[in-house]
């Protein structure tokens, strides 16, 4: 089956990727442009093709869905849900509780244009909400950004690995373009890993019992717990920064872009190089932790010009500037409203910056 070349939408590929990594439970609330994820999973659940997939349930609201994920995750199950912008706002309460209780789970946000209802086109305006933690209180965030249909298929496995390794929610931040884009892919043979879930709440045996709670009424207890979460954040930042690079070793100008924008930048790099401008691309795979170490190293290696391309008014550009610490020229090419810049727009902006 793994040799078969398939032609799928990003959302469909994501659903199959999750199933192939042993997804146990999916709790759904429909919202465009992510609805193919629950639709695909509902179909496969009805067919009983994947023995690990024990539960598909359509919830009555985004809140119900994320809290069902919390309940399933608390028993140690691999549980997830997916949504888009307006729904992602509603997930924040649950994400805060899940992070506070240290529950591993997966939430997909197929970012659409906003604020409010916005429209169904792609944006990357949920970057702050995802990477900073849009819920109340302070907690670590882990955000993965796929950039192709094959990555939509393979990132659920990575997401669950990280979620269970650190016992924290993982967000898969895609965009409307990636969700709806059709590409061919071959599913990699991924094992269905089983994780250590000794902490799960599945009934108290003897004296030992598991209380998964984010309530710490004693100030010193909360302080200790918050420090523990901060340590986790630090550990994640040290170990898990991931990025892909194209031509950065000699680039005079480096695009920084993720998701659909990275694809535009990849083409712009080729065009610019054909015009004798040495362009490169740094594509963050983890948005949180942001690959700031690579940005700093590139600056140490002499890269001085960074052009951030993102579908918002400037969000990730803050992280690039923080990493650069004033040691490089960091500019923004932003587009909003569901529109994409063309690769030629990127080329023109880079040419202007290179001069």
């Amino acid at each position: 089956m793994s040799d078969v070349r398939e032609f799928l939408k990003g959302n469909e590929a994501l659903a199959y990727g999750a199933l192939r990594t042993g997804l146990n439970a999916y709790f759904a609330y429909p919202i465009t442009p992510s609805s193919e994820i629950p639709e695909t999973l509902a179909t496969e659940f009805a067919r009983s093709t994947f023995p690990d997939f024990r539960t598909f349930l359509q919830a009555a609201s985004e809140l119900e869905a994320i809290n069902m994920v919390i309940g399933a995750a608390a028993t140690g199950a691999k549980a997830m849900t997916a949504t888009s912008g307006p729904g992602f706002s509603l997930k924040q309460e649950g994400l805060s509780y899940a992070a506070g209780m240290e529950l591993p789970l997966l939430v997909v946000d197929v970012n659409r244009a906003g604020p409010g209802l916005g429209n169904l086109g792609p944006e990357q305006t949920d970057y702050f909400q995802a990477t900073r933690g849009g819920g109340h209180g302070g907690y670590p965030t882990l955000v993965l950004a796929p950039s192709s249909v094959p990555e939509m298929a393979s990132f659920p496995a990575l997401g669950f690995d990280l979620a269970f390794a650190y016992r924290t929610p993982v967000i898969l931040l895609a965009d409307a373009f990636l969700g709806q884009l059709k590409e061919d892919l071959v599913f990699p043979d991924v094992p269905s890993p089983s994780y250590d879930v000794a902490w799960a709440a599945t009934g108290a045996r003897g004296e030992a019992r598991h209380v998964l709670s984010s309530l710490h009424l004693e100030l010193a207890d909360q302080s200790r717990h918050s420090r523990h979460l901060l340590d986790k954040r630090t550990r994640i930042a040290q170990r898990e920064q991931r990025a892909e690079e194209v031509g950065t070793e000699d680039a005079e100008i480096v695009f920084v872009a993720y998701g659909i924008c990275a694809r535009l930048a990849r083409r712009a790099v080729r065009i610019l190089r054909s015009r004798s401008i040495r362009a490169g691309l740094l594509r963050p795979i983890t948005l949180a932790p942001f690959p700031e170490r690579r940005v700093r190293q590139l600056i140490e290696q002499g890269r001085r010009k960074f052009l951030v391309v993102e579908l918002n008014a400037g969000q990730m550009v803050d992280d690039v500037r923080l990493a650069a610490g004033g040691a490089a020229n960091v500019e923004l090419l932003g587009e909003m409203g569901g529109l994409l810049p063309s690769s030629l727009d990127l080329v023109r902006a880079a040419e202007a910056m290179a001069r």
């Binding site: 439970a25 809290n67 994920v69 309940g71 028993t75 108290a204 019992r209």
Partner: protein
């Protein structure tokens, strides 16, 4: 333990499902009473090792400190959704939540009613004391008309805030729930001022057990415990029991509203 105690064999006593931690509940609060009823039922049914309780938000937020079982915290109002998530992946577990009226009937009404409509095999214990207790006595969805609270200083006006919501009848309006019961839990006054009867606690003990049995048979079980909140009602403990009997009991009539599996009377 006194020397006298050694002459006696415990008939009722310590329960493995109680941790022994002193409760934070105010004196005379039915939350405490219900806690022991739940522990007793879990011990009698022998299900402690496969019970996962879901802690709600409100005065019941610390219930897992007192009940010696595994526990998961739900956000305010979301306990039925968390329980559904647990049961959908682990139908072998027993799960329940103690929710207050604010938690279940106000902010969490969607979660409660949709879980009820799906007939989730879960158990909801609603402690309806007609006020927000933990936050200091604000109007609840179940506050009777005319009751003075910190957010209805002139008394609840049903014209602007609506009449009190009857959660039991709402749940019973759906076809799916298997067990819907309302118990008047406070001690009940008699004509003699210093004599009360304890029928509510005894009925409550049975209702808790029935609710768990219904869940074990795959049904949605809902038990509302009409309760008191003397501190926030600004009444003495026994005065609060009298107020509950006079005002809440007619408003929220105790009774069996659904018993699909005929667990009562068996």
């Amino acid at each position: 333990m006194t020397a006298a105690a050694e002459l006696y064999e415990p008939k009722l006593g310590a329960l493995p499902t109680l941790t022994g931690t002193p409760t934070h509940y105010c004196a005379g609060c039915e939350h405490g009473t219900l806690t022991r009823l739940i522990a007793k039922a879990i011990d009698e049914l022998g299900v402690r090792e496969r019970t996962v309780m879901v802690s709600s938000v409100g005065c019941s937020v610390l219930a897992h400190e007192y009940l010696n079982v595994d526990a998961v915290q739900a956000p305010h109002g979301r306990a039925p959704a968390v329980m559904a998530g647990i049961k959908r992946v682990r139908p072998d577990l027993l799960t329940f939540a103690v929710q207050g009226d604010g938690d279940a009937v106000s902010i969490g009404l969607l979660e409660l009613l949709n879980a009820a409509n799906r007939g989730e095999p879960i158990t909801v214990f609603l402690v309806n004391n007609a006020i927000y207790g933990m936050t200091g006595g604000q109007m609840a969805p179940t506050t009777p008309s005319g009751m003075v609270t910190t957010t209805t200083p002139a008394g609840r006006d049903p014209v602007t805030t609506g009449p009190p919501i009857d959660a039991t009848r709402l749940v019973a309006a759906f076809e799916s729930p298997a067990y819907v019961k309302r118990v008047f839990l406070p001690i009940l006054p008699t004509p003699s001022p210093r004599v009360f009867n304890a029928r509510g606690a005894l009925e409550g003990a049975k209702a808790v057990r029935h609710a768990f049995e219904v869940q074990q048979r795959g049904g949605f079980a809902f038990v509302e415990f009409v309760s008191t909140c003397s501190v926030n009602w600004k009444l003495g403990i026994l005065e609060a029991k009298r107020y509950a009997a006079e005002v809440l009991r007619p408003l929220f009539p105790p009774g069996l509203y659904r018993d699909r599996f005929a667990v009562e009377g068996r």
